[in-house]
Amino acid sequence: MRLDNNHATTCARMLKITLTEKEAEKYQAELQDLFAWVKQLSEVDVSQVQDSAVTRAAYLRPDVAVTDENLAQQLVGAFSEQEGHCAKVKKVL
């Protein structure tokens, strides 16, 4: 696996994280070291591991509605900006 020279910056941008120049430089070097270290995993023969072993079944609980009006208000209250029962966000365009 190869990381291009601007990987940290482009990946951070995709993740909506802003990096300073200094951070980008530091992360780039650390990511290169880390993925070089991780490369040792490719020496392991995994041909006997079934794909089904890595895709677990989901166990779902019954979908029971919560009717606590107070809790709903508290949850909406955690938004940084609200108007009534709505979360207020900045304009998109």
Partner: protein, 471 residues
């Protein structure tokens, strides 16, 4: 401070009041926290009021719960209704939990008294408690050294005698390694034993709530209070929970203890010496030492960093500053707002999100993420095979004792490698406990780790209890 068991027994019997216990705890926090920084917030009035209520219920003849009057600290990633929970991150500054985690409900139902929230590495990412927005925690044994992490505040609080027990979370060793560095007991049960409802997710396939305590019996008592199925966490297990604290035996006769081949090869002399002496001690208690082979265990650390970072990049996607957490009011539009808000994450968290996203990118997915997940299956199988031959497995908790604050700052890989012995427990979903097994020449504690199969915590607790008694 008395142990969990001593406090609970005395408060139940009325020879000590819960108020007296909580006052002692709060006094210790007041005296020592300015130097140690183990607690990031303490709730004294509320704790005293709750203690008085417990005392009043006892006075009226009511039978108290198993943790009657026991002061407990909770890690800052565990929700307690009406209280702040920030994961020690600027991202969640000011966030107040609208509901309580199941573990908190269980502590309260058992009549424990939660005295405050403890310091941690930001979003539980780190093993030295130096990434907290509240500043580092200092090891109570040597203030210039780290307490370990990420549950460093919980470990330091117990080691300093502020509380007899505290809750932590363990994704790659975050309960066991700080327990080792601070010279106390730390247990992570098998995956699924304890509900994670109300615990902020880092890596959902590895996260577990664990207990830090001043002794094994206390850890066992708190653990049995927390375990069990919870409808709100689909990964929690249905299986019956034994009374861990009541099932201790008088010796280890018939117990087969595995020592993995090659595990001591890269250890420093002092830690190695303590681990070998611990194996001898187990033998003197009646156990048989057997060599086992876990060939893929050496890949645990790279597997851990790929899988947990991938899951973190997904789990932490919800922190955009709009629903909760840090919000830059000056951002011009929604995109600028996201970018500014998500930059409130600290350095280590941002790095791990980027690592995870890189591993999950379509061109890297198979070679990197899928390969790590498959190797993890081989690690699990190795342990399953080893447990056909032995009852428990003995290893060091950490290759070193507590290091200096600021050490390894420019060498993250050295820190990642230090998780080798603990993160294999999370990759295998095993139960693991760290107990003190001696000190190095500087007086710093060395931790002994015992692993057991996923639903056999009683085996490691029993061996740890007898080891502690005989030390």
């Amino acid at each position: 401070m008395k142990t969990v068991f001593e406090i609970a027994q005395a408060v139940q019997a009325g020879t000590l009041t819960a108020r007296e216990v909580v006052e002692e705890s709060l006094q210790k926090i007041k005296e020592l926290n300015p130097q140690i920084n183990a607690f990031v917030e303490v709730w004294p009035e509320e704790a005293l009021q709750r203690a008085e209520e417990i005392d009043a219920r006892r006075a009226s003849g009511e039978k108290l719960g198993p943790l009657a009057g026991v002061p407990i600290g909770i890690k800052d990633n565990i929700l307690y209704k009406g209280h702040k929970a920030t994961c020690c991150s600027k991202m969640l500054a000011g966030y107040v939990a609208p509901y309580s985690a199941t573990v908190v409900e269980k502590l309260l139902a058992a009549d424990a008294v939660i005295v405050g929230r403890t310091n941690m590495d930001e979003f539980a990412m780190g093993s030295s408690n130096q990434t907290s927005v509240y500043g580092p925690v200092h090891n109570p044994i040597d203030f210039d050294r780290v307490p370990g992490g990420s549950s460093g505040g919980s470990a330091a609080a117990v080691a300093a005698g502020m509380v007899p027990a505290a809750l932590g979370t363990d994704t790659g060793g975050s309960v066991r390694q700080p327990a080792s560095f601070c010279g106390i007991v730390g247990i992570k049960p098998g995956y699924g034993r304890i509900s994670r409802f109300g615990v902020v997710a880092f890596s959902s396939s590895a996260d577990q709530v664990g207990v830090l305590a001043s002794d094994v019996k206390g850890a066992a008592l708190v653990l049995e209070t927390l375990c069990g199925r919870d409808e709100n966490d689909s990964t929690s297990l249905e299986n019956e929970v034994p009374a861990f604290s009541q099932n201790f035996t008088s010796d280890l006769k018939g117990l087969k203890v595995g020592m993995p081949k090659g595990f001591l090869d890269n250890l420093g002399e002092e830690v190695k010496e303590k681990i070998l002496a611990s194996a001898e001690k187990m033998k003197s208690l009646g156990a048989e030492i057997v060599e086992v082979d876990i060939p893929h265990a050496k890949y645990s650390a790279p597997c851990y960093y790929i899988i947990t970072s991938a899951e973190a990049s997904s789990n932490l996607g919800r922190f955009d500053g709009l629903r909760y957490g840090y919000n830059d009011a000056k951002a011009a539009d929604l995109n600028a707002s996201y970018e500014s808000n998500r930059s409130a994450f600290g350095e280590e968290v941002k790095k791990r999100i980027i690592i995870g996203a890189t591993a999950l990118k379509s061109e890297n997915f198979e070679e990197c993420y899928l390969q790590a997940v498959k190797v993890r299956e081989l690690i699990k199988k190795d342990f399953e095979k080893a447990f056909e031959k032995v009852d428990i497995i003995l290893t060091p908790t950490s290759p070193t004792t507590a290091f200096h604050l600021g050490e390894h700052k420019d060498n993250p890989l050295a820190v990642y490698l230090a998780d080798l012995y603990t993160c294999q427990g999370n990759m295998g979903g095993l139960a693991g406990i760290s107990i003190p097994c001696g000190e190095d020449k500087l007086g710093l504690p060395v931790g002994l780790q015992l692993y057991g199969p996923i639903l056999q915590e009683e085996k490691i607790l029993n061996a740890a209890y007898l080891f502690e008694k005989g030390l």
